[in-house]
């Protein structure tokens, strides 16, 4: 009898719980009261306001509600950000669902225009350029930093751009660059390579001293290393090629099919030579990031094409075994034609998008005002330098410097305070960036800026929807073919004597047809 009563009770409880979702509901009720709050308040600074943001959460600096920079932001603007953190690895999945369902937060962070072209066409995103008059600081930044070219590259066919420029920098710099083990080069009296040939000789020497090493290695597939080295040979490869093998040569002012060019062949031959002589890691196209870092820290490799700043992390571990372990940035070596080649870079590396629905919200003006605030000096200081006394100090001459514990890596400002965060750091302060770099790296960057070697990205093509479909078809088979062949040439599976056959096959896969289409589209959009 007792058992039966228990069963009935449980049934009743479950039944109740299922039909009344409010019992366990957590965020839903709060939300309604928030929006009421927003409608009441008049100005961005009068009453506290809350905006929502989809946030890409990087595990190495996991999101914390009580980051001092966010508190300071609320203090300055009276705005609280209600952040929806999403693990970085799944961010695109979540964003797709959020955008498709129409249930979009006020700000969607870490999103590039190229990732949301289709959504822009469907009208669910806000065309930022139409509201520039309401965002004076953004307009000023565009003018002062000379962002017009880069903004043209994210302009869609309808003439609007939908992405807020984030991580804006005044100078075109590329921080994915050549790094090398300066302590070892010095120890063995090897000069810092100036040309690609020098790289070969230096690697050769190091290989003879450390026979079990591979002087150059790489992670994130062959596309990574190819994209960084190809510009030295006057061409593009890997990630640098996005339009089915075509790239825009700003000097000749025309679109060139890279994979069958002479320069591309030179590039592959250089790789092939490096690999054959054991100077390039035979696993370079497949290495896992962890194994790659392991190789660096245990002295099995000496040249890296890595993001500047990573070396600090390697020090912490590597210096326990080898106290001299030092990695320094160097200028990209000159290629056969005597030019230094650097991978293309944008003046802004990231973006936010805003849903079109906010234009109908009562808080729209305040949202724009808040977004505009990120382009003010206050915000730049807060998210690039942090909080005075916690992460940086101001010298007598007014210049800012990070505190010693920040520079030494003991105190991670991003993890502990949220500053220098890829999402919030909307405007990049070059002084802040340089403060972190070694003297050599600073010099290398100055040199790069002086020689103006960092090219902008290819201009954006504006095909019609039909043309885009057709191009996609050709591109996918063409891309597969030449990427596969690229690796076969490097690994020596395909002989260079078959180059003509390879050229012909590219033709068969539609390289010429694609070129024709690209040129037609290019001419059309320039005549507009």
């Amino acid at each position: 009898m007792r058992k039966r009563n228990l069963l009935r009770l449980l049934t009743a409880i479950l039944f109740f719980a299922v039909i009344t979702p409010g019992v366990f509901a957590n965020g839903q009720k709060e939300k309604t009261s928030d929006s009421e709050k927003i409608t009441e308040s008049k100005a961005i600074s009068n009453k506290p306001i809350e905006f929502t943001m989809l946030y890409s959460d990087n595990a190495s600096y996991g999101y914390k509600k009580d980051w001092i920079t966010l508190q300071k932001m609320t203090e300055l603007t009276n705005v609280t950000l209600k952040i929806q953190p999403v693990p970085e690895a799944d961010y695109t999945t979540k964003r797709r669902i959020v955008l498709n369902s129409g249930n979009i937060p006020d700000i969607v962070s870490k999103t590039l225009a190229s990732e949301v072209t289709d959504y822009a066409a469907s009208g669910i995103l806000l065309p930022i350029n139409k509201y520039l008059d309401k965002m004076p600081n953004l307009s000023r930044t565009i003018k002062e930093f000379g962002l017009e070219d880069d903004l043209r590259n994210i302009t869609e066919e309808d003439g609007n751009w939908y992405q807020l420029p984030v991580r804006v920098q005044k100078e075109r710099i590329q921080n994915q660059t050549w790094l090398y083990r300066s302590d070892l080069l010095e120890k063995h009296n090897i000069e810092v390579p100036q040309t690609m040939e020098d790289v070969y000789t230096a690697a050769k020497k190091l290989k003879s001293i450390y026979p079990d090493s591979y002087p150059i290695t790489n992670r994130f597939t062959a596309d990574n290393v190819l994209s960084v080295i190809a510009p030295s040979f006057g061409t593009r490869a890997g990630w640098g090629l996005t339009s089915g093998g075509y790239w825009f040569d700003p000097e000749k002012k025309e679109w060139i099919f890279a994979p069958t060019s002479v320069e591309f062949k030179n590039l592959l031959q250089w790789f092939n030579k490096m690999l054959k002589e054991g100077l390039l890691d035979p696993e370079f196209a497949t290495l896992d990031s962890n194994v790659y870092e392991q190789k660096i820290m245990t002295g099995k490799t000496f040249f890296m094409l890595d993001w500047l700043g990573n070396e600090k992390r390697y020090y912490a571990t590597a210096r326990k075994e080898d106290p001299d372990f030092t990695i320094t940035a160097m200028l990209p070596p000159k290629g056969p034609d005597g030019d230094r080649g650097v991978r293309q870079a944008n003046k802004f590396a990231m973006g936010w998008v805003i849903p079109a629905r906010v234009a109908n919200e009562k808080y729209f003006d305040r949202l724009l005002q808040f977004i505009d605030w990120f382009y003010t000096d206050d915000a730049v200081e807060l998210f690039a330098w942090g909080v005075e006394g916690v992460t940086f100090k101001t010298d007598a001459d007014g210049s800012k410097h990070y505190l010693p514990q920040v520079l030494s890596g003991e105190f991670d400002p991003t993890k502990e305070t949220g500053t220098l965060n890829n999402v919030f750091n909307v405007v990049y302060d070059m002084d802040a960036y340089m403060d972190f770099q070694s003297k050599e790296a600073q010099a290398a960057f100055k040199e790069m800026a002086k020689e103006n070697v960092v090219p902008a990205f290819d201009p954006k093509l504006l095909p019609t929807a039909d043309e885009r479909e057709e191009m996609k078809m050709i591109q996918s088979s063409l891309d597969n073919y030449f990427k596969q062949k690229t690796e076969e040439f490097i690994f020596g599976k395909e002989s260079f004597s078959n180059w003509e056959a390879y050229e012909k096959e590219c033709q068969n896969k539609g390289s010429a047809k694609l070129g024709e289409m690209i040129n037609t589209i290019w001419k059309r959009q320039n005549n507009k």
Partner: protein, 291 residues
């Protein structure tokens, strides 16, 4: 009785084979376990194989001081207990009528259910449904869509069908109604299958990070698996597109930290298995009808 020679050879071979398979399945755990207690240097230099090298607890201390980890754990426990309970309740209530021959329309319902095993509306319709029900950011979004797994229902129905009709008839003659038959005869006889299916459901909810990713927006509600996923997968995909913008985007977390998180998240659910295991092997009708 003496075993024949060929049988002995077979037995030896069998033992070796099983030992190999056991080792293959067990080694990843041993390896993770050893890594989680080792120093980061030892792991990077590839010195860790079976036993921890440079024994230390720093990976564990850095995780257990993380408030999001404990918060996630609490949510996972809540989801798993509530979800298992609800899942079992619904599975039994659906499986039992379908196991009865005298239930009209049984075949139509069964076909309807099996259809959903092969076809679904897709992710976005599911999201819209859950969102229109007002379940976004609630526990229901996690436990209700997964409460009934058709496969589990079919397994349980098959088990119920094995219960002798004579027992049920006897109950009816003694004046029990349908609910009483279910609670007094069927459920007590079905402990093994209920325990097994209960474990299936619990493991499934414990491991589920995807529903949480899709349906939850506020990290106060995230289960611990989402925390784990961020730690393990965090840096692996960021740079794969070539869009990494600086060193912070390609940072990899120490492997010791990943290993420690994996240990802490998997051990509790693994610990449930030994308690349920006896039901896996138990005969189903023990103690009901003999002879």
């Amino acid at each position: 009785m003496q075993d024949s020679k060929s049988y002995k050879i077979f037995k030896t071979f069998n033992v070796i084979c099983m030992a190999c398979i056991t080792f293959i399945t067990l080694y990843p755990f041993i390896y993770m376990f050893a890594q989680s207690f080792s120093s980061a240097q030892a792991v990077i230099n590839n010195r860790v194989h079976f036993l921890p090298v440079d024994f230390n607890l720093s990976a564990y201390t850095s995780i257990i001081t993380e408030s999001r980890f404990w918060n996630g754990y609490r949510n996972t426990l809540l989801f798993t207990t509530t979800g298992t309970f609800l899942g079992l309740f619904l599975t039994v209530s659906l499986a039992y009528p379908l196991s009865r021959d005298d239930f009209p329309g049984k075949d139509v319902i069964l076909k309807f259910m099996v259809f959903t095993m092969f076809f679904s509306g897709g992710l976005i319709p599911l999201y819209l449904l859950v969102s229109n029900l007002g379940w976004i950011d609630t526990i229901w979004a996690i436990i209700v869509p997964n409460a009934i797994i058709i496969f589990n229902v079919l397994v349980m129905r098959t088990f119920f069908m094995g219960i002798p009709q004579a027992l049920i008839d006897a109950g009816e003659i003694d004046g029990l109604n349908q609910l009483q038959i279910l609670s007094h005869i069927v459920i007590p006889l079905s402990k093994p299958i209920i325990a097994t299916i209960g474990l299936f459901i619990a493991v499934q909810i414990w491991n589920d990070w995807f529903s949480a990713l899709i349906f939850l927006n506020m990290d106060d509600l995230y289960p611990v698996t989402l925390f784990l996923r961020n730690i393990v997968m965090g840096s692996q995909m960021t740079a794969a597109s070539g869009q990494a913008v600086d060193s912070s985007a390609v940072t990899t977390l120490p492997q010791t930290l990943q290993a420690a998180t994996i240990m802490l998240v998997t051990i509790p659910i693994l610990a449930v298995y030994p308690f349920i295991q006896k039901y896996f092997v138990q005969g189903m009708m023990i103690g009901s009808i003999k002879g």
